[in-house]
Amino acid sequence: MKKRSGFFVYALSCVLPVAAQQRDTTVQLAPVQVEAVLPPVQRQPALFTYTPDSLLLRALPAASVADWLQWQGAASLRSYGSAGLATVSVRGSGSQQNAVLWDGLSLLSPLNSTPDFNLLPLWLFSDVQLQTGSSSADFGSGAVGGALHLGQAIPQHSNLSAFVESRSFGDRSAGLAITHRAKNWWYSARGLYRQAENDFPFRNTAKFGAPKQLQQHAATRMGGFLQEAGWQPHPKHRLKLRWWYQAYDRQLPPSMTEALSTATQADSANRVFLSWDYAGQQRSLSYKAAYLKELNHYVDLRTNLDERHRFEAVLQELRLQQSFVGNHQASLLVQQALYRATSPNYDLGVQQQRLALVPGWRWQRARFSTQARLRAEWVDGQLVPVTPSLQHEQRLGNDYELHAAVARNYRLPTLNDLYWRPGGNVNLQPELGWSSELALHKKAQYKGHTFALRSGVFLTEVDNWIIWLPNAQLGFWSPRNVRRVRSWGFEQQLNWSKAIGQLQLRATADYAFVHTTNQQVGAGEASILGKQLIYVPRHQLRGRAFVQYQQHFVGWQFGYNGMRYTSTDNSNFLPGYEQSSLLFGSDIRFKKHLLRLNAGIHNLFNTQFQAVAWRPMPGRHFHINLTYHLHKI
């Protein structure tokens, strides 16, 4: 058996970059959990977190984070279509106001800080979590609306998983995952390849007679792998090394109002990660370092544009936690980042250094936990405003938990904001704000029914909001700190489950109400004062219901996005839309072998909708996939 594992390791390294690996947790039906011998470094406790449903992961192994967020959580997805950019708004945030973290280290591009959630395949990770709410004190710049966490679980067994999938519109994908677990070391590799034509039909209501036409120039092709080698020489020490490579080529389709598009975009990323963890009885220490090298290559034959935007980053983090008597714990986090970027839109290559110190304190008793943190960050030697956070969790009786938090948040200007030619403004100040939230968590059981309800309210205010505006004196656009935005609302999570013999029933619903308005605007912008921000729906609902019987399941997913304004004075809007999907799956198990057949119908009612104005989305379409697992090789 060892020989076989070695062969797979060898074979994998030969077929890179498009082969590779995956998730031993997919054979479990519980939500993905981090499995660690050592206690994981604690994230800031979030009031609301969302993890991909295990059945959704099983049914859609090739899904991206953007695909997942259509169906779950409280993030509003702004998708430019199957081949286009997909960003999110969380609690009214802008697309640049959310953090994306790989085991705690930021993956945000310093150029634009706009993560594309289509570029994050779920297959490569075994720990994915969306956390809503501000957390700048912990995660630094940009964690204003929420944070997406990506991570890897340490494999407990040697496994093999592979899948092939076919979808409508020429969408084909394949994935491979292997893990090898020895006594004190492990190796895992996960790889994914996916290509699609995305030539779906739609009604072009921008043309005379709203003719039916096929989406043009929307093909995509992506491949990537993520490998991890780990060594635990001593029960208290652990060393991990990871390499994540990914390439994504895509044609950028025209909007319904454009004649054609000849633009293409190629993104590639090399990410190397090293960590060392020590956990003693009273003290824990961890060190992480990462090197990121990314390229965004934009080409438009029609306009003869050929631009390469690159950045490199070296990120380091040192975290010390010390426990004291009385269940007190002190911590110190030191983060350092060095960014280098080049772009044809900058006069020269630019560089930025950041250093952050985050002392923290936590007091935990049986019925409550309180923690405070204070972040001080220097950017190129300049101190940005200090951001404190305070959080409290309290048990009330046996079934209730109360969570409360207040924090200061910030977002640094991007390198594009600072150095774009023309218009870059080196005098920009960071966006600054306060957030507060209060949530109640209730669990209940009644006659075999299990309920969990989480309800919360939040209030966030961001000042110095950076917005690009035309500068009459300079004759071009330039970013300025001109607006103050307030966002308030509430989130609800409801989970229900019941078992009847071998029949398992489960349903969940995530609802968010978000009221996000301009409270202060620039000169001549009175018409947008008090108006809801564009592409922030006030109402959003996600629902899922699954029925599982022995080795078979049927699932239904529902997503509703309310009306979204498309102009800042709220004079134009897109209507709300809903979509549903049906998922089916069946298992055949033989000893260590597991064969899974899944299928699905998406956009069940063939809804014609636009998530972003004049960007068509596919109507009803289908998928089928076959997954093979070899467990405990």
Binding site: T205, A206, K207, F208, A210, S255, T257, E258, A259, L260, R302, T303, N304, L305, D347, R421, P422, K442, A444, Y446, L453, S455, I467, L469, P470, A472, Q473, L474, G475, F476, Q492, L494, A509, Y511, F513, G522, G524, E525, S527, I528, I534, R538, H539, L541, Y560, G562, M563, T566, S567, T568, D569, S571, N572, F573, P575, G576, V612, A613, W614, R615
Partner: protein, 349 residues
């Protein structure tokens, strides 16, 4: 108690769904005639949006928004750029859709589309020639061109290669002039033969024309700072074969929005966020002092009809509806009217 709690939670979920915003009230029906009036071409949201046309009835000051979509049940396209008219037809240039929409000004319904253009910008219909001249960038790194369109057949009958980024186009003394806005040249074209007569060197980045008597005034913005070789703006005057160039006082002056002065024998332009007047003929040097309007505009043009009002547009944040400011002949503010998103061109008829 547990039941009540769950019931209340579910009820709340259902209740908030009822708050879906209702559709806004429909806009009023368009008037039947668009024979005379002011047409504001709004670019629309920059990426992937759609342009719109705002119609202003001079007599009633009635304003109709998005008249193209109302008349045709579809959007104008991305990006609304400019407009001209010929007889009872209006021709609207839609830049990123690579087309010119031809509408019947009786009801603004589309009667056809001229396709196959490449990044079209400005349009000129000289008198009764039956032809339309459309400047096209073609690409961001090659020579531009002018397409000559036979309006009756709605077809391109000739293309004329010009300089880079041709934008402004004007008729002067039976010749057509094209401002190559990424160069320091103006291309002169014969109206009868549709051939290039000569290429005239002017200041850097010409961006506007005013025909005044025997002279053609050309406003040149100069190279902006981000090019790495910033140069001052200038005003060139072409009189026959003579070209004189007057330069602004410093390299940081990048004028734009050239238009005729309401009282004649002068031009208006905008620089550093204010509008100035320059008496013709332009002297050797230009010293902008004492602005006539102390603010900037996205677009500025003079109504050539008897009204003689000056129209300036305000695009605000380019993501909300813009505004139009009208000025009397003495350049005192008269009134203001709403427009669409990013009003960038005005056609007077």
């Amino acid at each position: 108690m547990k039941h009540n709690f769950i019931f209340r939670g579910l009820s709340l979920l259902a209740f908030v769904l009822l708050f879906q915003s209702c559709k806004e009230e429909p806009l009023p029906e368009p008037a039947n005639a668009y024979g005379t009036g002011v047409f504001v071409i709004n670019e629309g949201v920059f990426q992937g949006g759609t342009g719109t046309v705002t119609f202003i009835n001079r007599a009633t000051l009635g304003v109709q928004q998005d008249v193209f979509a109302q008349a045709n049940g579809r959007p104008l396209g991305n990006v609304g750029q400019s407009m001209a008219s010929f007889g009872a037809q209006g021709l609207i240039v839609v830049n990123n859709a690579n087309k010119v929409e031809v509408v019947d000004l009786k009801d603004f319904k589309s009667v056809g589309t001229i396709e196959g253009l490449a990044l079209p910008s400005e349009i000129l219909v000289p008198g009764n020639s039956g032809k339309a001249y459309v400047t096209e960038w073609v690409s961001f790194s090659s020579a531009g061109r002018v397409s000559v369109i036979d309006i009756a057949s709605r077809s391109v009958i000739r293309t004329i290669t010009v300089g880079e980024f041709p934008n402004a186009i004007a008729l002067h003394n039976n010749r057509i002039y094209v401002a190559n806005s990424n160069e320091n040249t103006v291309t002169e074209i014969s109206l009868n033969a549709d051939t290039v007569l000569r290429t005239i060197t002017v200041g850097d980045r010409p961006n506007g024309f005013v025909s005044q008597g025997n002279s053609l005034v050309v406003l040149c913005g100069g190279n902006p700072s981000w090019t790495g070789s910033e140069t001052a703006g200038s005003i060139a005057t072409i009189t026959g074969n003579q070209v004189s160039i007057a330069t602004f006082p410093a390299a940081t002056f990048h004028p734009t929005n050239l238009t005729s002065h309401p009282n004649g024998n002068a031009v208006l332009y905008e620089v550093n966020g204010a509008v100035y007047s320059e008496t013709l003929p332009v002297g050797a040097n230009i010293v902008p002092a004492n602005p006539v309007i102390n603010r900037g505009f996205y677009h500025l043009s003079l109504d050539p009809t008897a009204d003689g009002l000056l129209y300036g547009t305000d695009a605000r944040d380019f993501a909300s509806d813009g505004w139009i400011y009208r000025y009397e002949r003495n350049l005192a503010l008269k009134d203001s009217l709403p427009a669409g998103i990013a009003p960038g061109h005005i056609h007077f008829r």
